[in-house]
């Protein structure tokens, strides 16, 4: 079951570069929340703060608090523990090139000590089907390397890899930016299906996509959260002038 995310006064830096300023918002459980905003405004950085990925960048710093369900992310829990509960799909596909397709999908389980062959087979098949990749790869699961797939297939492989560990929250950083329209709509279908069980946060540059999949939408600008509201409200009647300018294409 998904859990909600409460973010309070979140600030983030890359070295001296203050990237996120005082972000406060509540992401509801079992819904999809979209984050939009111009390039470089801090969407990826924000998402990476939620599962403590930001701090793996040398020189990066975070302050403020994030709660995921009943877990205080930045206080009293280990990053490893947090990341096991949160799946992440990155902006650029990053399959493990030395592993087969099968090993890529099952990596999160195998590398953390799960060894039941039969269960792994089932999970790999289910995850690949959910990510709409099964039919394309089912015949060379163990023959082909993860890196031998096309860019769009690699991204779906990464989605399957994240699903396989059965997270409570799914963070997707522009998961469809490298995909063709057919795979994109498959991913969107997947998000629809997953919403009942997971909390999904999706970063996207495609506003139709945000409108299609997300209940709530947040608009970022220059490292600040300008507006956060129901998707319908954001796209039909935003309260902030800058949001309106952005969604009507006047800038960004």
């Amino acid at each position: 079951m998904g859990v909600g995310i409460e973010v309070k006064d979140l600030n983030a830096w890359y070295g001296a570069n203050h990237t996120l300023h005082d972000i406060t918002l509540n992401i509801p459980a079992n819904q999809c929340t979209a984050l939009i905003g111009p390039s470089g405004c801090g969407k990826s950085t924000f998402v990476r703060c939620l599962n403590r990925m930001h701090e793996t960048t040398p020189g990066a710093k975070v302050t403020g608090s994030v709660r995921i369900g009943d877990v205080d992310v930045y206080n009293g829990s280990s990053p490893v523990e947090i990341r096991r509960r949160i799946g992440m799909v990155f902006q650029r596909p990053n399959p493990f090139p030395t592993m087969s397709i099968y090993d890529n999908v099952s990596a999160g389980l195998r590398l953390n000590g799960f060894r039941n062959r039969k269960a792994l087979d089932e999970i790999v098949e289910r995850s690949l089907k959910q990510a709409a990749l099964w039919d394309e790869v089912k015949n060379d699961l163990k023959k082909k390397s993860g890196a031998s797939l096309s860019g769009g297939q690699q991204q779906r492989l990464c989605i399957a890899r994240a699903l396989a560990v059965d997270p409570e929250v799914m963070l997707m950083d522009e998961p469809a930016s490298a995909l063709d329209p057919v795979s994109t709509s498959k991913i969107e279908d997947l998000i629809f299906e997953l919403k009942s069980q997971y909390t999904i946060v999706i970063v996207t540059h495609n506003m139709q996509q945000a409108a299609r999949v997300a209940e709530r939408t947040g608009f970022f600008l220059n490292g600040r959260l300008v507006e956060f509201d129901s998707t319908h409200k954001i796209f039909t009647n935003p309260s902030d002038k800058r949001t309106e300018d952005y969604i009507t294409g006047r800038f960004g």
Partner: protein
């Protein structure tokens, strides 16, 4: 008026005379230097290989490979065995700490220890191998009382290999893209798991190249072994200390200075074997480097 695309294209298609001449001069100078270097290196290599292979192959026969040395005659079996034992011994002692140090330098960079380690490793590369040999003699052979031995010889070779393996491991780990580490962390892997199960498989081909080159260097060394492994014309009985050991490079050096023809034959046979061994290792290292599984496919 600004510069248009047409102007740019014209400049590219019809360069000035000055540019053309300049280009010609640099072009011929470049090719000339390439050719000269190739000639120098090529002729030196051909000359050495010809001498070693022609005279060595003539001197090589089954007896050389299957008998131990008797005075200035007999075979090289003891020396072949010694070279292999010492080479493998050196690797066993240098590969684990070398890879560990490489991982430390690449993954835990930041503290004061990493630059110190890197500096010491660079110094170690510059230490003449005879100094390593003499150091081994003073410490292990004399002070610890091990005598000329496999242990002392292997440790001396390990000291020579260690900085190479450390450096290649560090570079190999640094080449693994950040995005793959992030993928591992994102799946909830511990840092150790990410290093050993995700980075290490990607770094292995490059590390292997370094290990093979270190082995090639060890096999070709004489100076550090003279003071530590000593010399013996008998086969090894398995003792780690107090038992001197023969090896091919010593056989070359010792036999070529003897007046007898049989001694010269042995020296050339030994030179042939060492060269062949190093050549084969280098070729394997090249092949491994070219066949890096999965490399180049990940953006």
């Amino acid at each position: 008026m600004g510069v248009s695309a047409i102007d740019v294209r014209a400049a590219i298609n019809q360069p000035s005379i000055f540019r053309l001449v300049q280009r010609k001069i640099f072009n011929s100078a470049g090719w000339g230097l390439c050719g000269l270097t190739f000639l120098l290196l090529g002729s030196a290599m051909v000359w050495i290989l010809k001498m070693v292979f022609v005279r060595g192959a003539g001197a090589l026969n089954l007896k050389v490979l299957t008998h131990i040395q008797i005075g200035v005659a007999g075979g090289l079996l003891n020396a072949i065995e010694g070279t292999l034992v010492l080479g493998v011994g050196g690797l066993i002692l240098s590969v684990p700490p070398g890879i560990a140090a490489g991982i430390y330098l690449s993954e835990y960079d930041g503290g004061w220890l990493a630059p110190v380690l890197r500096f010491m490793s660079d110094v170690l590369v510059g230490v003449p191998s005879i100094v390593v040999g003499y150091f081994g003699y003073v410490t292990m052979v004399a002070t610890l009382g091990w005598g000329f031995s496999v242990a002392a010889g292997s440790i001396a070779l390990a000291m020579i290999s260690l900085p190479y393996i450390t450096r290649t491991s560090e570079v190999a780990f640094r080449q693994v893209p950040r995005t793959l580490r992030e993928a591992g962390f994102g799946l909830g892997c511990k840092p150790g798991t990410v290093i050993m199960r995700i980075c290490l498989p990607m770094a292995t081909p490059a590390i292997l190249t370094g290990v093979l080159l270190a082995l090639a260097i060890s096999v070709g060394e004489t100076a550090p072994l003279i003071y530590t492994a000593g010399w013996s014309s008998f086969l090894w009985t398995g003792h780690l200390t107090k038992e001197p050991m023969g090896y091919l490079t010593y056989a070359i050096w010792a036999m070529i200075t003897e007046p007898q023809r049989s001694a010269h034959q042995l020296a050339y046979a030994a030179a042939f074997l060492v060269t062949l061994f190093v050549l084969v290792i280098s070729v394997i290292a090249r092949v491994v480097t070219f066949r890096r599984s999965g490399w180049g496919q990940h953006a």
